[in-house]
Amino acid sequence: MFCNTSKEISGLGHGMKRKEDARFLQGKGNYIDDIKLPGMLYMDIVRSPYAYAKIVNIDASKALAIPGVLAVITGRDLEKYKLHWMPTLMSDTQMVLPTDTVMYYAQEVCVVIATERYIAADGVAAVEVEYEPMKAVVDPFKALEKSAPVLRPDKGKTDNHIWHWEAGDRAATDKAFEKADVVVKEQMYIPRIHVASIETCGCVADFQPVGGQLTLYMTTQAPHAIRTVLALVAGHVGLSEERIRVISPDIGGGFGGKVPVYPGYVCAVAASVLIGKPVKWIEDRMENLQADSFARDYHITCELAATKEGRIQALRFKTIADHGYADAQAAPSKFPAGLFSICTGSYDFNTAFTEMDAVYTNKAPGGVAYRCSFRVTEAVHAIERMVDRLALEVGKDPAKLRMENFIKKDQFPYKSALGWEYDSGDYHTALKKAMDTIGYNKLRKEQAEKRKRGELMGIGISSFTEIVGAGPSRQFDILGIKMFDSAEIRVHPTGKAIARFGTKSQGQGHETTYAQIIAQELGIPAAHIEVEEGDTDTAPYGLGTYASRSTPVGGAAAAMAARKLRDKARKIAAYLLEVSEEDLEWEPGKFFVKGAPEKAKTIQEIVFAAYTNHPPGMEAGFEATHYYDPPNLTFPFGSYICVVDIDKETGEIKIRRFVAIDDCGNIINPMIVQGQVHGGLTQGLAPAMYEEFIYDDDGNLLNGSFMDYLVPTAVESPHWETGHTITPSPHHPIGAKGVGESPTVGAPPAIANAIVDALSHLGVTHMDIPITPQKVWKVLKEKGVVKAV
């Protein structure tokens, strides 16, 4: 691991304790619900009990009769200000509040504003809404049938098809499939899930009627983007960007779910503007689960073509993407399917074609990148499942088959069949390390013996390649704003610093890792660098934190800004030491004269001189800003191996071991990386075995609370065994790649592959996640292993 600074400086490679944790561990965090302003009002939301219904009438009289209820705001009220619809990030539109029709279960119908939180809830219960239910469109395949009701005639649609997207060479791929010795095919569903962060969403909107300023405290991963969006969509009612201040306080988990603008935020802003008082809105858990953006929900037909030895020749994926009633995905504008075209994975072949059709249904809108760099999780699950499927077909060990198909270390930078340029990788070493750590060959022997005794044990591998750090401005923008990010460093005369960023930590540990990057580059101890994010009045412009972009983009900006300062420091040091700049050498923390190390100036002395004795002709002060436009994305990777034992009478699955070898390039803080990997693996376990939204035929969400939406806990989590290899990114200033999402992306196929492997001798080739005990039992019954009563 790269580490050349003292513990005092704590640059790269030091596992320093997180600077932010003191306040979190002592209950002194400042979350959205901690914000209380004088005269603040409370908002609560009336939600639809139907997935698809006409609103016949809203009678608010009983609610308005409750003392303390000040207003009930409906879509008709917002319509007067043309605020009843809002744009999504994907050039679609969604309702703020409906005027005529509700389109999904738990949709916002109207809002109640009251003097107290409890009174607002009583108001919600007292609002009488008359609905005329209609037959909901729930299944995305049926939604595409001619007979299906058209859900978005307002978009000029005559069917429920939103868009078609494709990548690769269709003709060449079809030809490769015709010629192939072996073709394997599976229909897969990557279920609709939810980020379920500990803190739900909420805001306090504080509009000052006299000056027209709006301060919006909000649970957002991208405060600057939110300010710009507000200015763009509400400019016509007087909200102008210089008078909008978005403050994102401490956030209790985002995972992509706090990127979108939800109707509740807009309603709270509208209410504050209309009433002229601060309005607080905090979602409860059920609202958060039922109405906020989902993730995944891809139905993928997967095919691989290969030689009879199992050498992959071509890939063909066809996806139906269920977006609910609006395409409210959070993805870069030019990428309707996100970065799904990473689906060729870690494997070396030239021919691929993937296509996708997005569909409207009567479900909550969304498609957020849940701890995933825009649809990478879906892509990785599909390819890693299919590689195992191919191994089964050709009768080859899945580890061996992977080794034979991996892109080789000397092929990087590698141009993938679907057009990405992978920056660096060493897949063979990572898999070998995972196999050695877990004792792979011994486990295979044990499995063979257990099978003879009728016991069910499985081993699953996932050798994933991620694509993160969006992104280069030639390809990546959100609503036209390029996906650069920024850092501003201001070093005070005594050598202590404050650094501000356009990103926003939600638990990632930016206050520590950004400080370490600056410490590495400038030699100022990380402990002396304050990191601040989330206030649009003070932070430089940036697009925020999601898609593992903070280290690849924000972290790079920090390094580049620090290097500008180091260049200035060199000039000052040369002036102070009366030598030329070329005569100076840098070691973290000081410049010294080549061959005369006793003649040196520390960074602290240099900074002090920048304020007290700066060279003639040079600007005083010690500040720098950098807007970093990455030349490419980064491609973290890893190999995970999972071992499961299955109780064949109950179908219960026990993860006996799970080894995760990650490669995220140079490591900034190994302790934080390990923490990220542990959390990510648990969030990968979740969809693999527990989480899935289940809708009935009428579009009612059947598990919209934590009673039935099963978020795994420490009890369900196995002991995670983590390790790493290090293959630096060649284009990133400090060789780092980003790690927060690798485990979420890599874990589900490792677990699914292990379970399918345990059952493969019975003829099982695929199971959709989440793989639950009852699903396993059903398969065992179908295969005659167990009997029904």
Binding site: A125, L702, M707, L710
Partner: protein, 287 residues
């Protein structure tokens, strides 16, 4: 997730609680609150009055006395877990207490509340059926003992009268060669059972099963006794074949609903598997 307004009373004595109950007529009793409060927050329960009995002294104890294990209604699940008496002599109760929800719930939830709620998904009803317990209810005219078989009347319905409070549970004190077990299949920690099986049995000197109680969790509208399964094993020497036959009987006599926890077929199969395993574990513990 905010309850409708209600009037809250927190009497210091049982007598005061009983008089308030009579006075209001429709009041709900709150003890640990882990069944009632979620219903209040979802506005599924909208009582005008709530009588919080958790502050009443003298209703929390675990003691063996007069041929019974007596457990006060306000005894918390965590008290059961930590009790030496329970741990060493009544493993079936220990099994159940450990499987109820999670530690933060068990630190507040009470055994009396778990029973009085009348929910077939709760874990103690099946355990009490297996143990052939008596439920002690206190009303304006004093106490009455209700055999557990007469306590659970139907879906969320018990034999408690509106003016009565569940105050104590009597369990026959442990005899020689007696063992018990409670097994529960759950989707994740803290979940209600997909199926749960409680078994308590006593062997005679010949190794025959002299007495047996089998209770089932969450596979019927009301908590149920697996009488047919008990009949298969009672008085018999427990062979593998008989245990399997009893398990099959339990699976056939239960009446589960299909829901997110499983199909009817899956739940019956789980009752069968868990019954076999619980009987074996109880036999092992009865040595």
């Amino acid at each position: 997730m905010i309850p409708q307004s209600f009037q809250y009373e927190a009497p210091a004595t049982l007598a005061k609680a009983l008089s308030l109950l009579q006075q209001y007529g429709d009041a709900k009793i709150l003890s640990g609150g882990h069944s009632l409060i979620p219903m209040l927050k979802l506005r599924l329960a909208t009582p005008e009055h709530i009588i919080d009995i958790s502050g009443i002294k003298g209703l929390s104890y675990i003691k063996e006395q007069g041929g019974y294990l007596k457990i006060g209604a306000l005894t918390k699940e965590s008290d059961l877990e930590e009790s030496r008496t329970i741990r060493t002599r009544y493993p079936i109760l220990m099994d159940a207490a450990k499987m109820i929800a999670d530690p933060s719930v068990r630190n507040l939830a009470t055994i009396g509340g778990n029973l009085a709620h009348g929910d077939a998904a709760n874990d103690h009803p099946a355990v009490m059926l297996a143990l052939r317990a008596e439920i002690i209810a206190t009303g304006p005219n004093g106490k009455r003992n209700i055999p557990v078989d007469e306590f659970f009347l139907g879906f969320f319905t018990t034999a408690l009268q509106p003016d009565e409070i569940l105050t104590e549970i009597h369990i026959p004190v442990k005899k020689a060669k007696t063992g018990g077990a409670y097994l529960k299949l759950e989707r994740k920690v803290g979940d209600y059972a997909t199926a749960g099986v409680a078994v308590q049995l006593t062997k005679d000197d010949q190794g025959h099963i002299a007495q047996i109680g089998i209770g089932l969790t969450n596979v019927s509208a009301a908590p149920m006794r697996a009488s047919n399964a008990e009949a298969v094993l009672k008085g018999k020497s427990p062979t593998d074949e008989l245990i399997a036959k009893a398990a099959l009987a339990a699976a056939r006599e239960c009446d589960p609903n299909a829901d997110l926890r499983g199909t009817v077929e899956y739940k019956r199969a789980m009752v069968k598997t868990l019954t076999e395993r619980a009987v074996r574990l109880a036999l092992k513990r009865a040595k």
